[in-house]
Symmetry: C2
Subunit: 274 residues, 2 copies
């Protein structure tokens, strides 16, 4: 673990990341000493910092820190947090704030292998995401909605029940995505993914699926999606940078199998992964 470039796992209790969730983060996989999709993750980090008015640390500085981290741990799930830094008391962002850089690395989770090959069971969460256009799409540290939605699954998420992800809707009744993943539908030969301009997080893996669609001339729509459309899709899958791609084989009363498009995309994400 690194805190502002030095080995350590402690941060000031006056850091605004703690006080207000005033920061952003990235989670991605490293293997054989190399971070997967680092350029995309840095670009997203920078985008999110700009959106919140946080001075994003330099790419070369972060890459050097990452390099040092991966010299000691060749693989795992890497988490990078950038906060606005410390400041005087009060919500106002200090003019002279210096961003805090935090790195952590954990072992890769050992998800059941058939979640990737045969899909997962998913469930709908009761919690509805609120709309906040100024925070939508950003992977910021205000994640209580995700925490509460995931807590709903806590019994269900035991290995026995096999519920691997919860899908979240917004207060207007649109399906937005998983608690920790972005959602795609295959419907009548098109890819469809939720509009995230009012809530949700635009993940790097979502961008990669959108890029795949463009490369393969597959029509893709980003728009509002109701629950009924989700339950009648030809294929459903969720993506993020750690899980890769999981097809959904069971959601509420609906069961699905096959997933021809999801398989192609999963292969692409995997082969272009490094």
């Amino acid at each position: 673990m690194l805190v502002n470039g030095k080995p350590g796992n402690l941060i000031s209790i006056r850091d605004r990341g703690l006080l207000y969730g005033d920061g952003v983060f990235r989670t991605f996989v490293a293997s054989h000493g190399k971070a997967q999709q680092w350029p995309l993750h840095y670009r997203k980090l920078q985008h999110d910092c700009v959106a919140l008015g946080i001075a994003c640390p330099d790419k070369a500085l972060l890459f050097a820190e990452l390099d040092g981290l991966l010299a000691q741990h060749t693989g795992g799930v890497v988490k990078l947090i950038v906060t606005r830094g410390e400041g005087v008391r009060g919500y106002a962002p200090p003019a002279a704030a210096k961003a805090t850089r935090l790195w952590d690395i954990s072992p890769l989770p050992d998800f059941p292998a058939d979640w990737s090959t045969h899909g997962i069971k998913a469930r709908l969460c009761q919690l509805r995401l609120g709309h906040q256009q100024h925070l939508a799409g950003i992977k910021h540290l205000n994640r209580l909605e995700n925490v509460l939605a995931t807590a709903e699954l806590s019994d269900a998420q035991s290995p026995d029940s096999g519920i691997a992800e919860g899908l979240m809707m917004d207060t207007a009744g649109n399906v937005i995505g998983g608690t920790r993943s972005n959602l795609f539908l295959v419907s009548k030969g098109k890819l469809v993914t939720p509009d995230l301009s009012r809530c949700g997080v635009k993940g790097v893996q979502r961008d990669r699926v959108i890029a795949w669609a463009a490369q393969h001339k597959m029509p893709l729509q980003v728009r509002n999606i109701g629950l009924d459309e989700v339950l009648h899709a030809d294929e459903l899958f969720v993506v993020n940078s750690v899980i890769g791609l999981w097809s959904i084989n069971e959601l509420e009363q609906r069961r699905m199998s096959g997933f021809p498009i999801a398989r192609q995309i999963r292969k692409y994400l995997f082969e272009q992964g490094a």
Copy 2:
């Protein structure tokens, strides 16, 4: 500063308070070695912990820690943060999480004296609060909306401009309160304060104003309030545990003075303060 009962100012970067804003906090004044309204603050802390499913630390334990803190610093602004604690990676609240207790104390802010006696200039923030009924009312650590709304005032909040507070509306057009305070209107002999069931924070000082109204048989309504009603109120004031009560003497084009009801309430809050 105290971290889980020990002198210190550092917290693990794996604490969920940092990772997800998964915690709650209290801010209040201490003077002459005594915390103002501690029983109310503990009750609110407990309420907010329950709402998020956090195991609230014992009242006696917290009071003993506060006592120790105030033995060294007889006065100032006390901040108490309770997070869900550390946990394994992922949004799911760990079943065995042990709450983290953080205490900090800062000097009392030196607001201009006439803000209390003659009122403040306030301004409307552009940012609109999103609706999230599961988080509304709770003083949790997900405060990016307040940060961004306050950032709008950063130029205005210089001593020269004299803007002391920003008022925030929600996405439906209701006025919700200040960036760090609760709002009250005096209108046709009634007190009116915004309904906070979809956003906003229910502060301890707000409860005390509501209690004053009951004691003094002054009609009080908690309901949706539009901007027009705010701009035509007989009196406007904001309250929180640090500022006490500030009347608003200027908001947008509207100027006000006098504040007979607000003066009575301010006297009550002050005299019953300890």
